[in-house]
């Protein structure tokens, strides 16, 4: 059992104060639910000299509805999201993704902000200090070789947050706040394809709100993940879909993935499927799109090829389910 390292704890009462504390101490880290950061600190992966706890900041734990859409405070917990009747009803992908995270004891602490800003993961990284030391560390932290792809100089650790894909298919943007001011960017711009530095967030920026635009009432969405156990586990691959289907024809389709790349990705090329009848050919084209853009590496003990295939299968099944399409005997041949 590793003890907690020492640090200074600050508990600001406002976002402005939190941003000022981050700006004043470059090594400081935000603490929200702590369900990712504290286990990492216990394993010596993070050693911030200052923790800025958002737990005493008011106004960031609200879910607001307006005609323009939904505004989710960064401090809203995943159990709040999973149980909010309107979210379950109108933005099902968000509720399903929130409900699939870890276990109930994590979800009542875990926040949206922490889930979206979750570190990337790898079987060579999320380990105790002595485990990593025995392996001479790795490129992401303390070493100079990537054990997953030793010939390269790139970290392939996977982003595994469940909420991001659900929010991506719903067109969400995020409001970021720093002492110098605030900015709103599309959620997809929060990420870059780099396992070491996958967030574009500045060190003194705080994610304050997630904005989900109002959508056509005909749009239905969902989230599915494959994982080693039915609970507690991160996604080996997670897929969110948002679909409008009319008389068996796709009128709108958005698909996003997590767990497969160093960033969550909104699949490109789904427009080409819009206007097509949902049939085996369309589903097979969708499967190909997923397989092409998912790029899982050996960052889990589960084979990467399985993760690629399961991502495609989950996307196909979820689109069928959302569009009310019964794949005939062909289900077995999908993927």
């Amino acid at each position: 059992m590793e003890r907690m390292p020492q640090f200074d704890l600050r508990r600001p009462a406002s976002i402005a104060e939190a941003a000022a504390l981050l700006a004043a101490e470059p090594g400081a880290r935000l603490l929200a639910g702590g369900t990712d950061l504290l286990p990492k600190m216990r394993r010596g992966i993070e050693r911030p000299p200052v923790l800025v706890d958002l737990g005493a900041v008011r106004d960031i734990s609200r879910i607001d509805y307006a005609d323009a859409g939904l505004a989710l405070g960064a401090g809203v917990t995943l159990s709040q999201l999973a149980m909010d009747g309107r979210i379950v009803h109108h933005h099902r992908a968000i509720a399903e993704a929130a409900r699939s995270v870890a276990g109930p004891g994590h979800r009542s602490a875990a926040t949206i902000g922490g889930n979206l800003c979750l570190d990337t993961r790898c079987v060579f990284y999320n380990q105790s200090e002595w485990w990593r030391a025995t392996n001479h560390y790795c490129l992401k932290l303390g070493g100079d070789v990537c054990h997953v792809a030793p010939q390269g100089s790139h970290c392939h650790a996977a982003f595994c947050g469940d909420l991001a894909p659900a929010l991506l298919v719903l067109g969400a943007s995020v409001e970021l706040c720093a002492s110098r001011g605030a900015r709103v960017i599309p959620l997809s711009d929060l990420y870059r394809d780099d396992g070491v530095a996958h967030l574009t967030l500045e060190p003194d920026e705080v994610l304050v709100r997630v904005l989900v635009p109002a959508r056509s009432p005909a749009l239905v969405s969902g989230y599915r993940k494959a994982r080693a156990r039915g609970a507690i586990d991160f996604p080996l691959a997670g897929v969110a879909c948002a679909v409008v289907a009319r008389n068996g024809v796709l009128a709108e389709l958005k698909v996003a993935l997590t767990g497969t790349n160093s960033r969550p990705i909104l699949l490109t090329g789904t427009e080409a499927l819009v206007g097509r009848v949902i049939d085996e050919a369309t589903l097979s084209a969708l499967g190909k799109l997923v397989q092409k853009q998912a790029s899982p590496m050996r960052t889990t003990v589960t084979q990467s090829n399985y993760r690629r295939q399961v991502a495609a299968a989950l996307a196909q099944r979820l689109v069928c389910e959302l569009a009310g399409y019964e794949p005939s005997a062909a289900r077995a041949s999908m993927s």
Binding site: D8, L31, G34, L38, D53, P104, G105, H106, G230
Partner: protein
């Protein structure tokens, strides 16, 4: 390291203690407050043995800072028995053999307690979901689920 004053309610009693910033709620409960019913099973957030209630919600004491519980209401397994009499839920775990070595039991019972307060007549699926973050290496889980049903009167 400097300490700060922490004021909170533990099992119905207000407490004030000087705590270090890096003190975990688990170590505060077991060490400072002497409440050793809450168990430590893993190296952080994996097993549910340390489940307690904070403001009525199940939370993992091993990945919660004590200082972050300022002003909160914390309940542990010790709060359930009244004058030495086990609560209905504890009694059900005892009678239905929901506990064997007992190490996971305080966490299981607190997670189940949170469920029953919110949903007094849970289905099998509700119970499985509520206990999905709690690992047990002895019972095989079936007796645990039966115990929660028994406590709910079903």
């Amino acid at each position: 390291m400097t300490k700060r004053l922490l004021a909170l309610t533990v099992n119905g009693r207000m407490r004030e203690d000087a705590v270090a910033a890096n003190l975990l709620l688990l170590d505060y409960l077991r060490g400072t407050a002497g409440l050793t019913g809450t168990k430590q099973g893993c190296d952080g957030g994996e097993c549910g043995a340390c489940t307690v209630l904070i403001d009525g919600q199940p939370r993992l004491a091993c990945i919660t800072l004590a200082a972050a519980c300022e002003g909160r209401v914390v309940e542990t397994i010790e709060s359930l028995a009244i004058e030495g009499r086990m609560s209905r839920l504890q009694q059900a775990f005892h009678e239905k053999l929901g506990t064997q070595c007992g190490f996971c039991t305080p966490g299981m019972i607190m997670a189940a307690e949170a469920l029953l307060r919110r949903n007094p007549r849970p289905t099998d699926a509700d119970i499985r979901e509520a206990l999905s973050g709690n690992l047990c290496r002895c019972t095989g889980y079936v007796k645990i689920i039966e115990s929660v049903h028994a406590a709910a009167g079903g």
